[in-house]
Symmetry: C2
């Protein structure tokens, strides 16, 4: 039991589900959660009575697992997880579910995240600061929202490496190009670099299109053993490895230009037995454009400091060397706090991503927020079963 | 990997730690958490730098894992869990940690729970109802606190089986007898049945001494593999099995006289390869006296309906057939939301429980809240390594 490499590929994502992504869902987070879970089970062709695990993460803004179980009539849930956390959490939760099914603690685990992020609890505003005592050291200085934390890091990167606003804009433009091909995306109007640069500044150095969207939506994924997944409807997408790390994720880091992703990347690749050159598609946490730019460096797709030229070169666009956020990401598809990145990666690895399909994709990286905020980071590598 | 029985005894509790149990700690939950974690590491003789896992559960009332990691200078935390939950959660969290170390995902996991349950956020009051939408169906009828939920169940048990107030009182009296022998306990004045019966009624059928205490305290346990635990200072206490269940844990249950503990008991015993006759000591969740009475039935120590005569007979007192809550429990030691039951069970199995030691104890059962509230239940069976 104690060789963690035994977990490589032992569990798989066997189903994915979404509700529509909207500004106003018109229903509760519970209804969104139930619809997303049902969609994921339908996708896999699994009877809800077979579900014996249920997990989510939240910040007090969603349906709790016992409510979802009751609403769906799930009477046999013997593994459950309800993690307190936001952008740091989903890939780690996927790892927890993989461990639960690989060890036999559960057979079929459904993970979901559902929130009315636009019409309900809006998490980016200064009127509702993020929880945590770290804020007592930040708020007196005007650091009130995640944009402030990431803004300092982006500005530090600009100063250290000459990263430009146009390079941040290249991230937004590339992701919008992908979103145009994604019928689920909230933002499908083509975006030019001029549009980006002319948009209002919000928090230095971020403009409007550096920000992820506020979204009402639910998503869900079904996790089971790879062996069991082969008996279900879809091609299994294997969980090859995951890693997580609590870091000193605040503005006291000695070097803001490197994220906690750099800490977990070697461990993640070693566990999965794959490296950055093996990754065909990456869904990188994009609360802001900058988080993509720093992660293409910290996950080893380019050298430290070269993220700006790298994204500007088109390397991360569809058709580029390493397509990133092929659904449009949080910037253009919608922001469901991490899980929609996993859904897109699964779609890409199954080969059913339609017009935005990355040909022959066999390995996908999905990351969580790369630090700078409380709760650290996590990431997962997915493959084909 | 998929035979869950491979987990039996693979992980162990290698250290336990407490802060004092008080009405007013005078410090923050963060300070309590840090002190408890340090105490557990000192108990085991483990360098804090070796800790790579950290977990807790909470209701927004404690130090988050990233704060505790930062305060202790733990830079290598690669597994972490911060479960949203209360009385349902600790045994399941212990199982999660066991799985993490048994699979090699982590090496040394510290779990803690710290709260200022008396001087800070008090959770039993009607002015701060428990979270969850289920309450919208309860509050209009005056069901405002956990005592109301458990009170209905206790009254149903009285009606169905003739259970008496004096039998509920026998639970309180037996636990106070144990607390007298426990230097950590908040309530060490001997309690008689007359004291119990003459105390004011709070919520039918509960009187003052049916209630657990409001406590400021922190506790922590260190979990590692049993093999690794053998190299540390204390005798390893093995995690033989655990089980959890989300149930329809509210007043819509068709039969309030049986708890969700009855659902998990067979699974727990099967996983651990031990039955109720093997259990030498039981630390049963005692938010109220009634929860002990219903659990001695539902975990199989006596037949359904016979819990009242069973506790009245002295079977659950120190020296009885199955000593229960040998530290005084939440009713007399203090209420740290579950974890202090695990600490006491470990102490008993190590044989260092002093005047309240159960001679030759080799198997201990520790349970969470037995349903009736949101979040279901969980339980763990511990043994000697």
């Amino acid at each position: 039991m104690t060789d963690v490499r035994a977990l490589r590929g032992a569990a798989a994502v066997a189903g994915i589900g979404w509700t529509p992504f909207r500004k106003a869902s018109g229903v509760s987070p519970l209804a969104l959660a139930v619809r997303a879970v049902r969609a994921a089970l339908d996708d896999a062709g699994l009877d809800p009575a077979e579900v014996d695990g249920l997990g989510t993460h939240h910040l007090g803004d969603t349906a709790q697992v016992h409510e979802v179980a009751k609403a769906l009539g799930l009477d046999g849930v013997g593994w459950f997880s309800e993690e307190y956390g936001g952008g740091n959490r989903f890939p780690a939760l996927l790892g927890d579910a993989a461990l639960a099914v690989a060890s036999g603690v559960a057979r079929h685990v459904v993970l979901y995240r559902a929130l009315n992020g636009r019409s309900g609890v809006r998490m980016g505003g200064a009127t509702r600061p993020m929880p945590g005592p770290d804020l007592q050291w930040q708020q007196p200085y005007g650091v009130l929202t995640p944009a402030h934390n990431y803004g300092f890091a982006a500005r530090a990167h600009m100063q250290a490496y000459g990263t430009t606003s146009a390079q941040l804009g290249a991230v937004a433009v590339a992701q919008r190009c992908a979103a145009v091909l994604n019928e689920r995306a909230m933002m499908r109007t083509p975006l030019t670099l001029d549009d980006y640069l002319e948009a209002p500044e919000i928090v230095d150095p971020f403009r409007l299109y550096d920000y992820c969207l506020e979204t009402d939506a639910g998503c869900a994924v079904l996790v089971t053993t790879t062996e069991r997944a082969r008996d279900l409807r879809r091609r299994p997408v294997t969980i090859e490895g995951w890693a997580a790390q609590l870091g000193r994720d605040d503005l006291t880091k000695p070097d803001l230009t490197t994220s906690t992703a750099a800490t977990i990347a070697p461990r993640l690749y070693a566990l999965a037995g794959r490296g950055p050159d093996d990754v065909d598609v990456a869904e990188l946490y994009d609360a802001f454009t900058f988080t993509v730019l720093v992660q293409v460096e910290d996950y080893g797709f380019c050298a430290k400091g070269e993220g700006g030229p790298f994204v500007e070169s088109g390397a991360t666009a569809l058709g580029g060397r390493i397509p990133v956020n092929t659904h449009g990401g949080f910037l253009s598809e919608g922001y469901v706090h991490g899980i929609n990145h996993v859904c897109e990666a699964v779609s890409q690895l199954r080969g059913d991503a339609g017009a935005r399909q990355v040909p022959g994709a066999e390995t996908a990286l999905v990351s969580a927020q790369p630090g700078y905020l409380t709760g650290g980071t996590s990431a997962v590598l997915l493959g084909v079963g």
